[in-house]
Symmetry: C2
Subunit: 153 residues, 2 copies
């Protein structure tokens, strides 16, 4: 593109806008589903998903894997502990920290939520072919990375 061609700005076609709108629509859908059926907020659901997938982790580790603030992790964990879906164990290697892990009932809950989560994903992606899905995922990761770099300047 010759750089003399100035693109006009239309919010409707502006990528950050489209991205935000799409993400909100999807988030709201899923948030309502988990809230209604399992009384889980999204941060709580994320902790459960990660703990089920990776096993015990410190809050720190959960922050990294969920890209959530440590405050958000603390609070999500408190809620789950109250419901005995996860529990704490001391962290022998660092007394400031602790390990969080699913209880048996947390695991059972996860076994219920996971299929629903996958079902939503399937519905959302229905009619998009496998190749495009891969590409979409790649681009989302790339956007995240580039945005991260730009903001670190």
């Amino acid at each position: 593109m010759p750089n003399s061609v100035k693109k006009k700005l239309r919010l409707q076609d502006y990528l950050p806008y489209r991205l935000s709108v799409a993400a909100n629509a999807v988030s709201n859908l899923i948030a309502r589903a988990y809230e209604d059926r399992f009384d889980l907020k999204i941060p709580q659901w994320r902790l459960i998903a990660v703990l089920a997938d990776e096993g015990p982790l410190t809050p720190q580790g959960l922050c990294e894997r969920t890209v959530m603030d440590k405050v958000t992790v603390t609070r999500a964990a408190q809620g789950l502990i109250e419901r005995s879906l996860i529990k704490r164990e001391p962290n022998s290697s660092d007394g400031r920290s602790h390990r969080l892990l699913l209880t048996a009932s947390g695991e059972r809950l996860h076994e219920q939520v996971a299929p629903l989560a996958l079902e939503y994903e399937t519905q959302l992606l229905a009619g998009i072919d496998q190749r495009e899905i891969k590409m979409l995922e790649r681009q989302l990761r790339r956007l995240e990375e580039v945005a991260g770099e730009l903001s670190r300047r």
Copy 2:
């Protein structure tokens, strides 16, 4: 895919998660830029962008075009009115409503923000070819639409 193949759930590969993370990274980047340089919040910037593109609109019209709540629009507009970037005119055809439009200084501000906005978009999409960009946009619109439909049941 034979439906006996059960996909395992990994948060890292879960589309709604990736979408949310990417959108947050991009939003935060842009939000900081506008805030720092122009003292604009994202809802305010959206109003300006739409008014510059489409001319005077009612709050209602702005809700539709920005996919924001009417409360959010009211508040964003209040802030802009205080700074005289937009103004109100009575709506002759409906006394409950009014029209919002950019002032001269609002237009000047828009002329400053728009190039920055486009520059960010360019940076974010750098290295993705035109065809893939179109596809990404199409998929984001589709996700939004499907999510909307699913939530309306």
